[in-house]
């Protein structure tokens, strides 16, 4: 009901005159169209041949395109906000390759190897070009000499010549319209370093060992074995922050540093950390202002991860405040122990029993916090999550601080790729598009299993080697409800002449009853049901390949009874499914010896005749499923992966000096006013001289929001130093003025359901009744109103204010 009112109150497009005309034609016999509300996945040529392989094919290329996109968006923003000269030629190049990369035979991974090499080089050049623009802008804003240079790191192999020195600084640029907190990992010499924020304050940092499997990547020539890790908190929106890193003075006593962190001190440390950091994690940058406002003061309590108490005041500003300090931690819900779950008495150790231990508070972090230690513990944890390993030192279960306990197994598998010719079958060959396993049994990859646990004050890690060619690192950062899974696969052996499809399976004890959800193009969420299709009855469905769907940013399963949702976010497109209840599979890498296109194009990626190694990240997030604000968090987090802030490193220079560094402007945001939660500045780029292209997005979905989810933004308060004047609203592609566009009025047979995900599998037949209102001229003084999932596009006249 409320929603319907919304549509009339905030009309979006279509002129009133047309509505009248529509009535005139209503009785006519035009073609009457059937309706469709689901999508077309996965595509199958025939009952054996599903093109669900291409969701994963050429994973390194897919990732590079994503990364290059961040540079493109960053360079475009800075071009505008830093008022640079004309870089049109550069952006022409950038647009060329970024556009070409989206082709259905390119990003899908179907192209030939030499084509891939060619485009990879183009992307590389484009990123270099963007870096020049970014450098120019940053020097201009910082006030540093225009000759100051920055470098990018080979983070994919944890190697960086410019940080493997005694003194350097970094700049992190955040192209999102809200502040982002993220861990920073920099390869360094085996020495103690200090990290300084722009005010010159030393911030907490640790050193941790780079996993063995990463060190052994053949291309990695660096001898460096350690990474420096710290949390960059609240990197400004549409802006950057710089950190200075230098080797600690030698007068510090090294003896005290190597004190072994025993289990006990570890706990003490976490107690302190938990109480301190609760104050900062959910800071007021994150207004979950989707709540139903009322005049009376209401208190809403949420007892989940990122536990916050929300107090409404009459200013409509919600400031989530931490309620769960270690002192108030309630006992953990152990009422549902699962046999698979490791004994959970440790869960109580999250803080409860040690609370009054004042020694913990006195513990000298300054001296002891830098080094990490290999630990003999059978768990890692932070204040939200504990991950346990079993007697075989395999990951076995996960506990949340709010009492949710699930079993968790993470395992690599491969399917042997079908080779019809060998079996005298006439089926199509698998290849870059087509995924077909020779049988339905995946082969587990666990021939050389080894687990090591490392603990430090900023991060705790489980390094898991499964085989020579498959390993992962599980990372739990302090104060972060996300589990990072840093996976590494390759070279996949084909010595047995068998093509292989390597995937990772997260197995929990959730009962999702065949239902799982995947995203579409990193935006909306679409429901999937195992072995089913929404609008037709599949027969002879391939129970493996036919259940794979594209996962562009996220896949999740839910146990409705236990009220738990398990999500995996990825950093590039992958094929994903839930073949067994409680499990999520994501295809990581494919090395296949057959060709499905008939043009002798093989998906056998090699370097120096050896199969390539692929490294990527999954982000695991577990929550109670009925907490709306955690849905909001998930949506926001997905954007923070998609447009992950990028790190520039100062070029190696003897004259790098903290005193010179600190006088420069090392923190900058071009955003004038904080935007409401859920609003994303999707596009900010120069359109032509004195004109901007601006897109604002409300990235929330209806299911996320508590009330109507409508957001308002005032354009005139948007950017610093830039005065926006006349505004023309256009269609999404910016090539038609919205006023000039009138959609055709087709007649349809039947109605659309209000919510496809509710309908599919449940047959909840609630029909949509939306209508569209007239388009009005947009006035710069009015608020831009954004309903959930709406993107509005503007061409704006602007001028710089100084």
């Amino acid at each position: 009901m409320a929603r319907r009112a919304t549509w009339t109150a905030y009309p979006v497009r279509r002129s009133a005159s047309l509505a009248v005309e529509h009535c005139v034609h209503e009785k006519e016999t035009g073609p009457v169209l059937e309706t469709k509300q689901d999508d077309f996945f996965p595509l199958a040529y025939d009952k054996h041949s599903y093109t669900s392989g291409m969701f994963t094919s050429r994973p390194t290329f897919k990732h590079f395109v994503r990364e290059a996109n961040v540079f493109q968006q960053t360079a475009r923003q800075l071009q505008v906000v830093a008022n640079l000269g004309n870089n049109d030629d550069l952006f022409e190049e950038f647009s060329w390759i970024m556009g070409v990369a989206q082709d259905h035979n390119v990003i899908s991974g179907a192209m030939r190897p030499y084509v891939k090499d060619y485009y990879t080089e183009k992307l590389h050049l484009a990123v270099q070009g963007a870096s020049v623009v970014i450098t120019e802008a940053i020097n201009k804003v910082r006030g540093s000499p225009t000759t100051t240079e920055y470098r990018l790191c080979y983070f994919n192999i944890s190697s960086c010549p410019n940080t493997e020195v005694e003194r350097f600084y970094i700049i992190i640029y955040n192209s999102l319209a809200w502040p982002v907190t993220m861990p920073v990992r920099l390869p360094i010499l085996n020495k103690k370093y200090d990290v300084f924020d722009p005010l010159g304050h030393k911030i907490k940092a640790v050193m941790i060992k780079i996993p063995d499997h990463v060190m052994k990547i053949p291309k990695r020539r660096s001898k460096v074995e350690d990474e420096l890790i710290f949390i960059a908190e609240n990197i400004p929106a549409l802006g950057f922050r710089s950190y200075f890193v230098e080797e600690t003075n030698i007068n510090r006593k090294k003896k005290s540093l190597i004190k072994k962190i025993n289990k006990n001190s570890q706990k003490k440390y976490f107690i302190r950390q938990a109480s301190k950091d609760n104050l900062t994690y959910f800071n007021d940058n994150e207004n979950y202002d989707d709540y139903d406002y009322s005049k009376t003061e209401t208190k809403v309590e949420f007892g989940d991860i990122g536990d916050v108490k929300v107090t409404n005041d009459n200013n409509n500003v919600i400031t989530p405040k931490p309620t769960r300090s270690a002192q108030t931690t309630k006992s953990y819900d152990l009422t549902k122990p699962n046999e698979n779950i490791q004994e959970v008495k440790n869960a109580n150790d999250f803080g409860n029993d040690k609370m009054a231990d004042n020694d913990a508070m006195k513990y000298d972090l300054e001296k002891d916090s830098y080094y990490s230690e290999e630990s003999s513990d059978n768990f890692i944890k932070n204040k939200y999550i504990q991950i346990n390993i079993d007697e075989y030192r395999k990951i076995s279960s996960l506990n949340l601080s709010n009492g949710v306990n699930i079993s968790l197994d993470i395992q690599f598998f491969y399917y042997v790729s079908d080779e019809p010719a060998k079996l005298n079958s006439s089926k199509r060959n698998p290849g870059a598009y087509i995924f077909r396993s020779i049988d339905s049994h995946p082969e587990p990859i666990i021939d050389d299993f080894e687990t090591t646990i490392f603990k430090s004050n900023v991060v705790e890690e489980i390094h898991c080697k499964y085989s020579k060619y498959a390993s992962l690192t599980l990372k739990l950062y302090a104060n972060n409800p996300i589990v990072e899974v840093d996976w590494l696969v390759g070279p996949v052996s084909i010595n047995d002449d068998l093509g292989k499809e390597v995937f990772i399976r997260y197995t929990t004890d959730l009962e999702n009853k065949g239902v799982f959800y995947t995203d579409a193009n990193g935006r909306q969420t679409v429901k999937r049901i195992r072995d089913r299709r929404a609008l037709y009855e599949p027969y002879n469905l391939d129970h493996i390949a036919g259940n794979y769907y594209p996962v562009t940013s996220r896949i999740y399963i839910e146990d409705m009874k236990r009220n738990i949702r398990v999500s995996v976010f990825n950093d590039r497109s992958q094929g994903g499914t839930s073949l067994l209840d409680g499990s999520i599979d994501l295809m990581l890498h494919r090395r296949i010896l057959t060709d499905d296109s008939g043009v002798q194009t093989f998906l056998n990626e090699t370097e120096n005749d050896v199969g390539i190694i692929v490294r990527g990240t999954h982000y695991l997030y577990i929550t109670k499923s009925n907490y709306k604000q955690n849905r909001l968090f998930e949506k926001k987090f997905a954007k923070e992966i998609e447009l992950k802030p990028q790190i520039l490193i100062s070029k190696l220079n003897r004259n790098t000096d903290k005193k010179k560094w600190i006088i420069l402007k090392n923190e900058f945001s071009s955003l004038k006013t904080k935007l409401p939660f859920g609003v994303h500045i999707l596009t900010l780029q120069k359109w032509q001289t004195n004109k901007l292209l601006l897109r604002l997005e409300n990235y929330l979905e209806q299911v996320d929001v508590i009330n109507d989810g409508i957001k308002k933004v005032f354009l005139k308060d948007l950017l610093k130093n830039i005065k926006l004047k006349n505004v023309t609203e256009t269609v999404l592609s910016a090539n038609i003025n919205l006023k000039d566009w009138t959609p055709l009025q087709w007649q349809i047979n039947g109605s659309f359901v209000k919510n496809f995900n509710d309908f599919y599998g449940n047959h909840k037949e609630e029909f949509s009744t939306d209508t569209l209102g007239p388009v009005r001229d947009f006035n710069i003084n009015e608020a831009v109103v954004l309903v959930p999932q709406q993107i509005r596009t503007f061409i704006v006249d602007f001028e710089y204010e100084n």
Binding site: T35, K36, Q37, L43, N105, N521, I791
Partner: protein, 477 residues
């Protein structure tokens, strides 16, 4: 806006005939931006041992073939290739291309930088590539170049989100090629080859788009791929030739399109004539499609009154949209806003009943002929195809002038078409005389006997109506 509308002449869409099976022939070429070759290799034709594809050749070949016959149309899609080609062309070639776009004979469908993948791409990058491609079209071709139909004919699966974005970009319809085999069967059973697709529940109508599932992926009907990449036989229409096959071939074609017609719920079907990197030798295609159109029209097997003509995706959409609507003219009132608003019928109604107009036109044509003749002598260009066309048109119309009043409407219409086409062709020629545009007009394949005109009067006549009007407007003192 009115100026553009007039200039773009979208009213040039062929007019369909109620009750007939209207067959839209869509010549097109599908150009991947990288697959077995790189973009550059595809564009220049290098690495020909890997693939013979050569995009620049396709552009030139199609362009010159379109100039030979006004009826012919072509649909391009990928702006990345167009832009590369455009940058390398001289002003005169660009002007020719632009005028063909304005006349609705070259159309862009989709118009993104490439035909993007859907499964694996991020929405922001999707938006960027559409914005970039459509902007380039706007910068080069102006409002007439604006695509109205989205064209995702080769993508392996389709997402809801991409669909929602297309609807919000203002596309009038979406054409898709690949559908899961079982789903396709269902769609056929349930009469859903065309459907209204909702891309986003929460955006509702904003995300709705009419979607058409192509019948034969995006390829030509079996046996009718007239490319050197295919080995299908050309059509031989000379009954004296030992290779004569027109009857048999046309029979085969009609069988195929009548089968196709069963799957769509109105009297229009769309026949894609093309494939991957086809039309490097566009003459091969157009010559044979011309013959196909002529013979389908005159073929005895054409019992169900097949109305066959060159068309484009947006003209197809328009025809489907107007199917069954009683008062199509009503839409003209919204001409300035509705992409399909202008409809020739309004003009036409007043025009074809007016014999004085035809007389006037023929007189104008005659006078114009003298001008062209003189100019061609003065510019030492010699005789040209256009001149020939106009000379015959004038002669024909004068000769039949007496009978126009009693002849069937469509015969009269055809005279007007022939005249106006010739006038327009010569109008171009006149400017060519002055600016020396395209040197090679000789070697036309069109036979120079009057039999050609007898065949012509069977043709679709839609283009001529507005041409005539347009010509009259500019030629009136």
């Amino acid at each position: 806006m009115i100026g553009y509308q007039r200039l773009c002449k979208h009213e040039q869409c062929p007019v369909t005939r109620d009750g007939a099976l209207n067959v839209h022939i869509i010549p097109h070429s599908h150009m991947d931006a990288g697959w077995v070759k790189t973009f550059d290799d595809y564009y220049y034709g290098t690495k020909s041992s890997v693939s013979s594809a050569n995009v620049q050749l396709i552009y030139h070949s199609v362009l010159s073939e379109l100039l030979h016959d006004k009826r012919r149309k072509f649909t391009f899609s990928e702006t990345a290739y167009f832009w590369r080609w455009w940058k390398e062309q001289r002003g005169t070639t660009r002007a020719t291309f632009r005028s063909l776009v304005a006349e609705g004979r070259i159309e862009f469908a989709g118009g993104g930088w490439v035909q993007s993948d859907e499964a694996t791409v991020d929405y922001l990058q999707l938006l960027d590539q559409y914005t970039w491609g459509l902007r380039k079209l706007n910068d080069t071709l102006g409002p007439c170049g604006k695509p109205k139909a989205a064209w995702q004919i080769d993508t392996y699966g389709h997402t809801r989100e991409h669909t929602s974005l297309l609807a919000q970009m203002g596309f009038d319809g979406l054409f898709i090629g690949r559908v899961e085999h079982r789903e396709r069967e269902t769609m056929i059973e349930e009469d859903k080859m065309e459907f209204m697709w909702r891309g986003s529940d929460v955006l509702g109508k904003m995300s709705d788009i009419m979607t058409h599932t192509l019948y034969n992926l995006y390829n030509a009907p079996e046996g009718f791929c007239f490319d050197f990449l295919c080995s299908d036989e050309p059509i031989v229409e000379d009954p004296d030739s030992k290779s004569y096959n027109a009857d048999k071939r046309v029979n085969d074609f009609i069988t195929q399109i009548e089968r196709q017609a069963k799957y769509y719920d109105h009297d229009n079907i769309m026949v894609t004539m093309g494939g991957d990197f086809t039309y490097q030798s566009a003459a091969n295609w157009f010559i044979n499609i011309d013959k196909l159109i002529n013979h389908v029209t005159t073929h005895p097997a054409n019992m169900s009154d097949i109305n066959i003509f060159y068309s484009t995706p947006s003209c197809y959409l328009k025809s489907v949209y107007l199917y069954g609507r009683r008062d199509k003219a009503l839409y003209t009132e919204k001409a300035d806003h509705l992409p399909y608003g202008s409809d020739v019928n309004t003009y036409w109604t007043g025009f074809y009943t007016s014999r004085p107009s035809l007389k006037y036109l023929s007189k104008r044509a005659h006078a114009f002929l003298q001008v062209v003749k003189q100019l061609s002598v003065l510019s030492r260009m010699g005789d040209s195809y256009e001149l020939h066309l106009l000379r015959h048109a004038v002669g024909l119309v004068l000769h039949h002038d007496a009978i126009t009043g009693t002849s069937q409407q469509r015969v009269a219409n055809d005279f007007i078409r022939i005249l106006s086409e010739a006038i327009e062709a010569c109008s171009k020629k006149v400017s060519q005389f002055l600016s020396v545009l395209t040197p090679t007009w000789g070697g036309s394949r069109r036979p120079k006997n009057s039999q050609q005109f007898i065949i012509c009067h069977q043709l679709n006549i839609s283009q001529c109506r507005s041409n005539v009007l347009w010509t009259l407007e500019i030629s009136s003192p």
